[in-house]
Structures are given as structure tokens and as C-alpha cells.
């Protein structure tokens, strides 16, 4: 099954404000999109609409393939050691080889550290490890580079490139430059209502 993500004429309303409208794109297997725009323009809302967590005010989203989300919310039990907290999602996802993601993101030395003691960048790496463990074709990334040091940024950009080369789809909302393989750039300011 080819991964594919299509947005048809979507609009987003939060509260009384229309954030953006008439946004259409198609992201085919192997493609990546970088969503840019100022704070409050609706980048995070767009990612959540694409994930199916928010209903678009108008239009529709078509996903072929499962979507994985990394946003600012960690969804790991902060009182547990990182290894145990990740183990829950490994069981949910039926992941057989969690070691690979931990190695790629250099999380192995942190497995016994309670999640609440991790730094911002380490928490972000943990969230990315969960994404890798899940093996889903559509990656939805909301500020994925926030808090990562330059080494981890490069490592993750390589992972995105590999993911797209394998037929995956990646959509990243990021206010900082992010190296995506041949990205289409969507500037949400152009769709502001």
C-alpha cells in the first residue's frame, strides 16, 4: 500500500478566529512537506487536523496508511524510568525491535532515568524513538527539532530522509530550518483568512 496524504480545501477555525482556508496539497509516497509560518498562524492545528485529532472547519483530509505524531506533548509516564515508559507504547504498537531506535537516537544510557528528570532534548528524542518504533508510513511532526542539539538534529534529519526514501511521507511544521528530502514548502501565511 502506497502512503499518501491529501488535504482538500481545508480551513481551520479556533474559537472565533479563522486561522487559514483553502489549503490543498497532496503528499505522495517519498515526499516531504515543510510547513512554515509565524507563531499562531495555525501550524500545530494543521498537524492535528492532518492527524485526525481536530476536525477541519471545512474540507477533508485523506490518509492512506497509519499516521504517527510527534508534538510538544510527551505522552510518557513521567514517574517511570524511560525504559518502562517506552515499553508501554512498544506493547501497544507490537514493536519487536525497540533497540534500534534507541541506538539511533542514543537513548540507551538513559533507560533507567525517570522521565521527569530528562532534559527537553532528551524528552524529544524519547518521543521520536516512539515514532520510529511504530513503523508507520505517515510522519506528522510538530516542531520536531525543538530542544535537540545539532548532533541529534542531523541524526533525525537523516532518519527522515531514510523514512521518505523507503516510501514514507513526512510533514514537519517547524519555524527553524529543517533539512527534508526535496521538501515542498507551505507557508501558512499565504492561506491566512
Amino acid at each position: 500500500m502506497q502512503a499518501r496524504l491529501v488535504a482538500k480545501d481545508i480551513a481551520c477555525r479556533r474559537g472565533e478566529r479563522l486561522l487559514f482556508r483553502r489549503l490543498s496539497f497532496a503528499c505522495e509516497a517519498g515526499e516531504a512537506i515543510h510547513v512554515v509560518g509565524a507563531n499562531g498562524v495555525g501550524k500545530s492545528s494543521l498537524i492535528r487536523i492532518l492527524a485526525g485529532l481536530l476536525r477541519p472547519f471545512a474540507g477533508a483530509v485523506e490518509r492512506t496508511g497509519a499516521a504517527g505524531l510527534v508534538d510538544e506533548r510527551l505522552a510518557l509516564d513521567t514517574n517511570l524510568a524511560l525504559g518502562q515508559a517506552l515499553a508501554f507504547w512498544e506493547r501497544i504498537d507490537g514493536c519487536r525491535d525497540p533497540g534500534r531506535a534507541l541506538e539511533l537516537l542514543q537513548l540507551e544510557p538513559l533507560m533507567d532515568v525517570p522521565v521527569r528528570y530528562l532534559s527537553t532534548g532528551q524528552k524529544k528524542r524519547a518521543a521520536l524513538a516512539r515514532l520510529l518504533n511504530r513503523d508507520c508510513p505517515i510522519w506528522l511532526l510538530d516542531e520536531p527539532l525543538n530542544g535537540l542539539d545539532s548532533q541529534a538534529q542531523t541524526a533525525f534529519e537523516t532518519l527522515i530522509a531514510r523514512h521518505c526514501a523507503a516510501g514514507g511521507v513526512a510533514i514537519a511544521a517547524s519555524h527553524q530550518p529543517i533539512a527534508l528530502p526535496a521538501p515542498a514548502i507551505i507557508d501558512l501565511a499565504e492561506y491566512a483568512a
Binding site: 492527524a51 505524531l69 505522552a75 507490537g94
Partner: protein, 217 residues
């Protein structure tokens, strides 16, 4: 998948679990049973006559204490979002949490009813009726608590509001559960069980819809 979910929910809620505090409702329950004789005096007859009702009120109030950490923390952390993306609906997540909540709270409460009954000087028959009533009523209390916790999870000061909202909704359970004390036949117990079953059946849907609505807020 559902087993993994239930395991995590139990780890979250069972006394001695990861967040601690699970034992507090139980201590609160026993404290009420202990304080009541001090307040009304050592009249054994009065205690025996009213003790069953006191245990019921204490159980209802103790059921309010764990509401705070039932839903709000996971909603804030985005756990339900990640589950949704994995095809686990909010309804399933809430059904699992309902079961975990009841298991974490009711069996120990039933156990604590024995020392509470002793403190109040209840006879064996009354104690048995109280135990059966609580067995029939606690699933309903757990269901009301979870539904209200989910409805108030995204509100500021939701925990205090949840406590207030549970009380009127739990009144039918209290009326029939405690009402069984004054009757020789099991009709009131059966009605309590029926109310509980009904509440348990609808709660995953109410709580699931509440979680989805919280996303749009």
C-alpha cells in the same frame, strides 16, 4: 493491546502504584467511621441503627478523592491523542480505565468496611447487607466518577467541580444501596446493581465523547 492498556491503567491507579496516594480514599473512609462515634456519643443502639448509612456516605465521599488523577493527567500529556492515532478509540480507553478504577478502589473499600462495621458496632446481618450493597453500588460510583472526571478534565479547577458534580449523580445509588438496610427482601440491592450496570454501560461513551470534545476546546 487492550491488556497493555489495562495494565498501565492499573499501575496508575492501584494503591502503592506509581503516583502514590492510592491508599488515601481508604484512610479517609476509615477516618469517617472512626470519627462518627466520637461525634454522636457512645450510644450503641444509635450507632448500630445509623452506622450502615454512615458507611455508605463515607464510601460515596471516598469515591470522590481519586477523581483528580483519573483522566486529567493523561489528557494533558496527550496519551489519548497517541492512542487515537493507534486506532484505540476514546471509548476503549475509558472502558479500560473504568475497570481499573473500580479494581483499584472497590475491593479494598469492601475490605475496609469490616473494621468500619466493627467500629460502629454493626451486627452481622447489617454488615452483610452493607457489603452486598457496596458490591452492587461501587461500580456505579466508579462510573459516575469517571464520566464526571472526563467531563471536567480540561477545566481549570476541574477536580473540585468534579467532586460537587458526582454527589447529585450518585444519589440514586445511595438511596437504594443504603435503603437495602431497612428491608428484609433483596429488591433494593437488585435495583442498586441495575443502576450500576446501566451507568457502567453508558460511561465509556459519555467519557469518550468528553475527551473528544476537550480536543476542540
Amino acid at each position: 493491546m487492550i491488556a497493555a492498556l489495562l495494565r498501565r491503567d492499573l499501575g496508575l491507579l492501584v494503591p502503592g502504584g506509581r503516583d502514590g496516594g492510592g491508599i488515601l480514599p481508604l484512610l479517609f473512609f476509615l477516618a469517617v467511621a472512626m470519627l462518627y462515634p466520637f461525634a454522636v456519643g457512645p450510644d450503641a443502639q444509635l450507632l448500630a441503627r445509623t452506622g450502615g448509612g454512615v458507611i455508605w456516605v463515607a464510601a460515596l465521599l471516598a469515591a470522590i478523592l481519586p477523581l483528580e488523577k483519573l483522566v486529567a493527567g493523561d489528557l494533558e500529556a496527550g496519551v489519548f491523542d497517541q492512542l487515537h492515532l493507534r486506532g484505540i478509540s476514546e471509548e476503549w480507553a475509558m472502558a479500560s480505565r473504568l475497570l481499573a478504577h473500580w479494581l483499584a478502589f472497590a475491593p479494598l473499600l469492601l475490605l475496609a468496611t469490616l473494621p468500619a462495621a466493627a467500629l460502629l458496632g454493626l451486627d452481622a446481618d447489617t454488615t452483610r447487607t452493607v457489603l452486598l450493597g457496596l458490591l452492587a453500588g461501587t461500580p456505579g460510583l466508579a462510573a459516575v466518577g469517571l464520566a464526571v472526571a472526563a467531563l471536567t478534565a480540561s477545566l481549570r479547577g476541574g477536580a473540585a467541580l468534579a467532586g460537587l458534580m458526582v454527589i447529585p449523580l450518585a444519589v440514586p445509588i445511595l438511596i437504594f444501596g443504603a435503603g437495602a438496610l431497612g428491608r428484609p427482601d433483596p429488591a433494593a440491592l437488585l435495583l442498586t446493581a441495575a443502576i450500576s450496570l446501566g451507568l457502567c454501560a453508558v460511561t465509556p461513551f459519555i467519557a469518550g465523547a468528553a475527551l473528544r470534545a476537550a480536543r476542540e476546546a
